[in-house]
Structures are given as C-alpha cells and as structure tokens.
Amino acid sequence: MLSYHQKSFLIVDDFSDFRSSVRSMLRELGVKDVDTADTGEQALKMCAQKSYDFILQDFHLGDGKKNGQQVLEDLMMEKLISHEAVFVMVTAETSQAMVLSALEHEPDAYLTKPFNRSGLAQRLERLEQRKTLLKPILQALDRGKPVEVLNACIALCKQDIRYSPLCLRYRADALRDMNQNEALERLYDSIIADRPLPWAFAGLGKLLFKRGQVSQAKGVYEKALKVFPMMPALYDGMADVLVAEGDTKGAQQVLEEAIRLSPLAVRRQALLGKLAMANEDFETASRAYRQAVNQGAQSRFKDPESNLGLAHALISKGSERGLDTRTRLEINTTLSAVAKENPTDPGLQIRARLMKATSLLLNDAETAEKLTEQALMRLDGMEQFMSPEAALLVAKQLQMLGQAEAGTSMLKSCAEIYGDDPTVMKDIAKLTDDPTILSSSNAAADLNRQGVRVYKTGNLVEAREVFRKALKMQPKNISIALNMAQSLLHGTDTNVPSAELEECRACLKLVGMMPDTDARYPRYQKLKSKAFGE
C-alpha cells in the first residue's frame, strides 16, 4: 500500500473549526506534518518557504480575499508547487461559476464539504497513487522539458495502454509548447473524433486561430458550443474569432454570454470592457471594467488598464452637464489607485492625470489645468512608448484639454512608432487632418517592405542598406527597427565584437521602450537575447 502518512500537508481555510477538524482527521490517519493557513496570502508565503506534498485549499476564503482558484493560479505561475504535489480544492458545493473558471489550472481533485475521515483517506490514497503512476511525466513538467514529457507519456502508455487517456492532455500541452502544430492538430482531431473533450475543442480552436485559419477556428468553436454550451473558454475563443473578423458587436455578445456563465474572470471582464468601449456601449463597458477592477484587486491579473478603462467609460457615459458626484468619486478612487500603485511608470502617471483632468473639465477647470500641466511635464522627456490605443487617447484628451500642440506631437510620435500599421494610421486620421503626419510614414513603410523583399532574396548587404535608410526616417518605428536588427544578426557572430553587432544592439535598445503587450514583444525578446547573449 502506498502511503501519504509521511507527507507534508497544508490546510487552508478561513474557519478555524474546519482547520482543526481536518487536522484531527489527518492525525487520526497517522499524518504528522500538518500546517494550516487562514488566508491565501499566508498560504502563498508558506508555500514559498516549504514545499508541501498535499494542499487542502478551501475555495471560498471570504469576500474580498483571494479565492482558492486564485491561490492555485499564483502557486502554478510562480512555480511554488511541484507538479508532483497534490492540490485538492475543498468546496461547500460544486458551484458552477467556480468550476467553470478553471479550465487552465485545474486542481487535482475537488472535495465537497462535508466529508468524513474515510472519504478523505480514500481520496488521499488514490491521488497519491495517481501521482506515483504519472511521476515521470510530472517530473518532466517540473523541469519544463516538453520533449521529456512526451517521452514519459509514450513510456507510460507502452507500459499500460489502458491509461493512455490520462496522458492525452499532457501530450497535447507538450506538443503545443514545442510548436509541433501539425502533430498537435492531428492529436486534437483524433481526441475529438473519439470523445468530445472541452479542452481539446478549445485547444484546437486556439491552434487554428494562431495559425491564421480564422474561419476553420470559427467552425470548431461553433461545433464545440453545440456540445458544451456551458464552457466559457469556448466563448472566449469565439470572441477572438469575431474580433479578427471585425465583428466587435458579435464578439461583445459572445463575451457577455460567457460572463453570465462565469462572472469570476478578471481578464474576460476587462476584454468585455474594451469591446463595449469600441462599440460605444458605455453602460456595459463601465460595468465590466468595474468588475475587472474589483475582482482584480486580489488577483494576479490585476491590471491598471482596467482602472483607466473604467474611468474612461464613466466619462464617456456622462452627460453634457458634466458628471454627478458619485461618478466623480468613483473616477477619483480608481485613478488614484493607478497613480499610487505604479509610481515608477511614467506612461501610467501621465494617463491617470489626463484622464482625471478630462473628467473635471466641466466641473473643476482649475484642477483640470493643474493636472494637465503635471502630465505635460512628465510627457516631456518620457522615453517609454505607449501602446497605440493609449497614445491616441492621450492625444485626444490633450486636444480636449486645450493642448493642441502637445496633442499633435503625440500623434507624430505615434505615427513614427506604429506608422506601418494601417489600422493605427486610420485611427490617427480620426484625430487630425495634418498631411505631414498622415503621410509621414509612407516613405519609410515603402522602404521597409522593399527591405523585406530584398532580405528574402538573401542579399543581406542591400537589405541592411534599405532598412537603414527607412530607420533614419523613423528611428523609433518598431517594425523597421526589428527588421534592421534581424538582418544585422543574420550571419553575424555575436561572440565577436563587430560594427554590425553594435548597430544591432543600439536599435534594439531604442525599441526596447515598446510596451510588453505589443504583439511583437516576444520577437523583440528573442532578438535581444541573441544580440546581448543573455
């Protein structure tokens, strides 16, 4: 018989009665090493100090506290527990909102209160057995080696083919991490043909979407939603598809559906806020952003963008006579939090001030002016690039606040950084008619395209020359700078100092100011680690 008696346990529950009751059950079962925690925060601290073999985590730890799912997310993302450890979510009932919010990081088991000693013993015994069976796979996961995960799965299935269904998800995740897209697609197809598993549908949809097969992805989600109309993750995927197709109204509807099913999801609420803003549905936007802010307070997905979004939605909802006191108070609270919690981020400091100034424009012009001045001072000399959405909103607000000149310079820098993206240029055109801004990127963008063509023919010298010319026109343009850097790295030995390496490092340093939310950020990081040998 396998034994969990020698293992270490952590019980996390806000009720001391429950903690002591489970502790005594474990004692009676012969377990000696038992610790307890009454909040998620404390549990995380304890897990950072000691690696527990079993964690019995209560889901609901009180309002305004981290819930069990958030604790699990934090533990996984910060690698505070091994994959070999057993995480059991203890629940008062199998509440839907909770179970459904957990497609990404699932606990090893759910245990519903009340349970007795034999029930607990049985679960622990079985979970220990399962972990032992899967040990080679779990150890490979801890090492972060997908190839080894795959090999361990193959070995286990060879040893006992009956357990192959248990390996499916590990295999799929490993193939995904290895970017083995064809093999992954075949695996998903075969799983779905046999048994419709919700995560397989979600994975296949995501894969197709990533590869740009948007309409195929849509087909998968449509089929999946017929079988699993209660799975929010599938609605999320469908919303991505609709956004890509330009149907933001449809995407909003789909996300609202997902939120009805599972309201506890910070990122989903934030995305709904963004879509509703794009659709000018300010009522829905403010509601969704408010949820994202409130739920995010205890979550690792806390994001100042939601606070700014909430303020923006509330301002947009306001009437021509200005905002009522309650709304102003809410805006003030949510923006103060941004300024207070991000003291070293100049972009957020500027945006929070301008947002607040905009909200006060009608009711308190004097304070609005003071805030605008503060923002302008910080804006001057800011090196960091804002995302195009943020930069354009800043430009618009500067215009509204009577700072036309600062607004124009914001638009100019936005056109320089993002000018090769036609959708950004379209949005810039909504804020200005100035032909010098609107046509400023044409020449550089043409040269950039030409450079890419030449690069593909393999003529490195000429490609670099063309990119160099383009970059001279727009030194901060992210696409051009990355292309320049890549063409310089191509065929260059990064271990030997050279003019090419110097030049490459310089242009990467400049665009290193890009926001990490940019789609090109991973590419930048790859180039950077090559150029700087990190």
């Binding site: 008062a92 007795n116 029930g119 919700p198 209660m230």
Partner: protein
Amino acid sequence: MNQDEQALDFSTVIASTVHDMKNSLAMLMQAHSQWLARLPEAQRQGPEQGVIDFEFAHLNGMLVQLLGLYKLGVNQMPLQPAYHELDDFIEAQLAAHQEVFASRGIIATYEVDPLSPLGFFDRELIASVLGNCINNAIRYARESLLITVSDEAGQLVLSINDDGDGYPAEMLERQSDYVQGINHSSGSTGLGLYFAGRIAALHQRNGVGGRTEIRNGGPLGGGVFSIYLP
C-alpha cells in the same frame, strides 16, 4: 409567459432556500462529528448514531438532488465530462457512506472490470446519482450491497445491487413514466429516477444518449439500478 416567469421565480426561491439548507446541514454534520470525536469511545456507537448518520446522508442527498433538478429546469446543468478511474470513483462514493454501512451492519463491495479501468463521464453529476442510489439501497438492503462496473457493447454500465425485497412490480412496469417525469405521485424514489434519467441522457456519444434501468434479481437477488453511459 407571465405564468412561466412566476413559476421560475418560485423555483428560484426554493433553490436558494435549499442552498442555505445544504450549507446549514454541512455545518451541522461537521459540528456533530467534532462533538462525537470528543466523546468517550463507548458513547460514540449506538443505534441513534446509525439513524443520525443515515438521515444526514439522506438529507444531503435529497438537497443535492433538488438543486440538481432546479439547474436542469433552468438549463444550467453543465456537463463536464472527463476520464475517471472507476475503482477510485466507486470507492469514493462508498467511503462517503462508511459510517452508515458500519452502523447498519451492511457490507458494501464493488467489482470493476479490469479491462476498462477508465470511464468517461461528469464526475459530480454521476456521483450525485450514485449517492442517491446507495442511500436508497441502504434503506432496503438486508446485509449487503454491491456495485458492479462493466462494459456492454461499448457502453459503461454502473449497477447498484442490494439484497432487499426489490422494486414493486408496478414501479418496474412503469419505470419509463418515472424517468419521463409523468408519474409525480411517488415521492423521492420517483424523483430520483427522473433525475438519474435526465443526467444519463446528458451523456451522449455519436448521437446515442445514456439511460437508466431498474430491475430485480442480479447477483444479490434484490433491487438492481443500472445507469448506462455511452
């Protein structure tokens, strides 16, 4: 339309009340077991203890079932199928009733076909069906209860056997009425069959839905409840 809304409102009221009752019951059971643990060994056992354990489990099972029926009614019953190890699953259901078995002197066993150790179903939903059936079987069983798991033409069959008197003939004849919810007159067993039938039907594969069946006989000669999952 108006009438429907009123009906739904009332069922929502009932559902939230049941929800509260279930939480209350959980606290009660927990407090009771802690209190029990402090008593001297000799006072822990006794016929009253058996009654308390059984009725606790019975109440809990009925409340879970009521909530389940409510969710079915408003179409909120989510199916979360996955592969589960069957011996683990059955053991867990039996372990939850351990005290009742002990106090009633019932020996509960299970048999899982070693060739199909995994089943594909929604763990919580099937567990609630099984919980109700075990509870029901405890009431009628004399001294033994057997859960068997087998494979019939690709379908997973879970059967709960007891050695009691079996189901009344009238119930066997009209079981499809119960499953369809036509016969409302018969109290908790009828509702249980309805609930089990609906949950079985939610499990589908290639257009084939799951189903339930009751009969008499089986290896223990009493009532047999079977749930078929494709």
